[in-house]
């Protein structure tokens, strides 16, 4: 028996895909167009605009800054977030219910509000260098995601395993590293990737916290668009897209995308 699929449904699905993927195709086309302005369909073929990214020092600097901030902020968030998620799950019965909600609350606060309050409290009032303000901002931005994802991994962790290890003579601190952590490894990797991508793509928080000489890639893209309209923007976008796709492929291969998506 074969199932007949309504042709209208196929058409509708195709339209949705065109709607979703269309802009990406246009950006990709624009990035390889041999013209000095953004255009689609591409006229001529060149990789010049990709070389141009590196040639423009502002892009070069902000790519490095973005990677540094994303890597450091994610690492710090993991160092804080893993023990926090552990405590929230290990002592779930003893702790009040609202506590774990509290840790996820920053996700609900508009990022622009967070950026502004950090600007007021950290950057202006305490005179912390811009790089560190950005780092603090991004750490706070990604911390709730880290706690959320690792909590999800720990929620299915059977803590009697930890007790078994302790009863066999393993100290509690050592047990955390030899027994607990290896069993939530996939959650830690997922949290790292999610936090890294969130930080790399962030505009709202960074908008307030960047300053003279230091900026992140998304902010630089905005700044560039205000002055120029050449295909470099398109090629930077393609670069970001390719980076994200590569990360997603790695996640899919190692953990499965659905597993990560379910934790968000």
């Amino acid at each position: 028996m074969t199932t007949r699929i309504n042709p209208a449904l196929i058409g509708f699905t195709a339209l949705v895909y065109v709607f979703l993927i269309g802009p990406l195709v246009i950006i990709f086309g624009a990035a390889i167009s041999d013209t000095s302005y953004l255009t689609f369909p591409p006229q001529g073929l060149t990789l010049h605009w990709f070389e141009n990214i590196w040639a423009i020092s502002a892009f070069r600097r902000t790519i490095i800054t973005s990677l540094q901030i994303a890597f450091l902020a994610t690492t710090i968030a993991l160092i804080i977030g893993i023990p926090a998620a552990y405590a929230l799950n290990r002592y779930r019965v003893q702790l009040p219910g609202w506590l774990s909600t509290l840790f996820v609350l920053p996700i609900l606060v508009p990022e622009i509000v967070m950026g502004f309050s950090l600007l007021r409290s950290v950057n202006v009032d305490s005179g912390v260098p811009i790089f560190f303000t950005l780092l603090i901002g991004h750490t706070l931005l990604v911390l709730p995601y880290v706690i959320r994802v690792i909590s999800a991994a720990l929620s299915s962790f059977d803590f009697s395993i930890e007790e078994a290890a302790i009863s066999l003579g393993s100290r509690p601190a050592k047990t955390f590293f030899t027994i607990v952590l290896p069993n939530v490894r996939s959650g830690v990797i997922a949290a790292f990737i999610l936090a890294f991508i969130t930080s790399i793509n962030d505009v709202s928080v960074s908008l307030f916290l960047t300053g003279p000489g230091i900026s992140t890639l998304p902010i630089q893209i905005l700044a560039h668009v205000e002055q120029f309209f050449d295909p470099t923007i398109a090629s930077v976008s393609v670069l970001l897209m390719v980076l994200t796709v590569i990360v997603m492929i790695i996640v899919e291969r190692t953990l499965g995308l659905t597993a990560v998506a379910n934790t968000k």
Partner: protein, 353 residues
């Protein structure tokens, strides 16, 4: 090496709720004692206090001459077997078993040798390189058993170890646990809610309720001579009948029910009988007799059920609803009147509540 365990006047709280009250328990060297009771009776709390996962409010726990309450959980040297096996999912079966030896600083070659030897004892040496996920429930519990035994602990504790297994396997495993425990002669604490399981493998059983031990005795004594109404009901004494002594004649005591009908009891059999007491029996201990002249409790019969070896009747009496058995040769109809005659060696006498 095996040591006696001595729990002295332990009181424990969860927050402000008292979960154990002045509990004392001595377990001899090599003895297996079960803590038996419904959930919330304090049996698991007791086990966790001994293991060091909980701290008592007051009291001491001694293993040999060591005061356990002064030691952290990882230094107590107790073999634990959990209900849900609690195997390390990321380690092979062999590494699971060798884990405790590794913590004791034993070299890899030696600990693998010892782990293999214990896996052989539980019949799983051929699965040593598998991960726990590849094992069945029974195999997992065998690995957990080997893991707890290989460190040669002076005390073994089991927390509902068979609850997750199916009925047939439960019986096999409890025999296996008892054999291994006997062979090693290790002092053991066994927590369970399953009466048959506790009675079948224990030297003594502590029946617990609301944070206290109601009776600690051999399974035989508990089953035949419960010390109080709670234990009597727990071990299946359906009929608890309050009686009052009306006459004493040497060793024979006459006692009456609330309707004035009397029964005779021998103090030779039941020991000294107080003026007020409770006659406790299972259905087996009350025999349904259609002879109106029999000395027994007047009853109106209700529903009759067939047990194979006897008929069982629900009976209305002055002492409330009682359950009694009657002979297969003489089935009686609902509504009939009969006498329920106590069978002396199936009865016991309790203090009133």
């Amino acid at each position: 090496m095996t040591l006696p365990l001595s729990i002295n006047n332990i009181t424990a709280h969860y927050g402000t709720t008292k979960v154990l009250e002045d509990l004392s328990l001595d377990i001899g060297e090599g003895e297996l004692v079960s803590l038996l009771g419904a959930s919330g009776c304090g049996k698991t709390t007791t086990l966790r206090l001994i293991a060091g996962f909980l701290q008592p409010t007051s009291g001491t726990i001694r293993l040999g001459d060591k005061d356990l309450t002064k030691l952290p959980a990882h230094a107590r040297d107790i073999g634990l077997v959990f209900q849900n096996y609690a195997l390390f999912p990321h380690l092979s079966v062999r590494d699971n078993v060798a884990f405790g030896l590794k913590q004791r600083g034993i070299a890899a070659a030696e600990r693998n040798k010892r782990a293999n030897a214990f896996l052989e004892r539980v019949g799983l040496d051929h699965l040593a390189d598998r991960l726990p996920a590849a094992l069945s429930g029974g195999q997992k519990q065998r690995v957990a058993l080997a893991r707890a035994l290989v460190i040669e602990p002076p005390l073994l504790m089991f927390d509902e170890p068979l609850s997750n297994l199916d009925a047939k396997l439960r019986v096999d495993m409890r025999v296996e646990i008892r054999k291994l425990q006997r062979a090693n002669g290790t002092t053991s604490v066994y927590v369970t809610h399953d009466q048959e399981e506790a009675f079948s493998i224990s030297d003594r059983v502590a029946i617990m309720n609301e944070g206290r031990i109601m009776q600690l005795d051999t399974p035989e004594t508990l089953y035949q001579r419960p010390a109080n109404a709670f234990v009597a009901r727990f071990v299946g004494f359906e009929n608890l009948i309050p009686m009052t002594v009306t006459a004493r004649d040497g060793e024979t005591v006459t006692a009456s029910l609330s309707d004035g009908s009397t029964l005779k009891f021998s103090q030779d059999r039941f020991g000294a009988i107080d003026d007020k007491f409770v006659l406790a029996t299972r259905a087996d201990g009350l025999s349904v007799s259609s002879d109106p002249g029999a000395e027994g409790i007047a009853a109106k019969l209700g529903l009759r059920t067939y047990l194979g070896r006897a008929y069982q009747y629900e009976c209305e009496t002055v002492a409330g609803k009682l359950i009694a058995n009657g002979a297969l040769s003489n089935p009686l109809e609902p509504g009939a009147t009969a006498k329920l005659v106590p069978v002396a060696d199936q009865c016991t006498i309790l203090k009133p509540e």
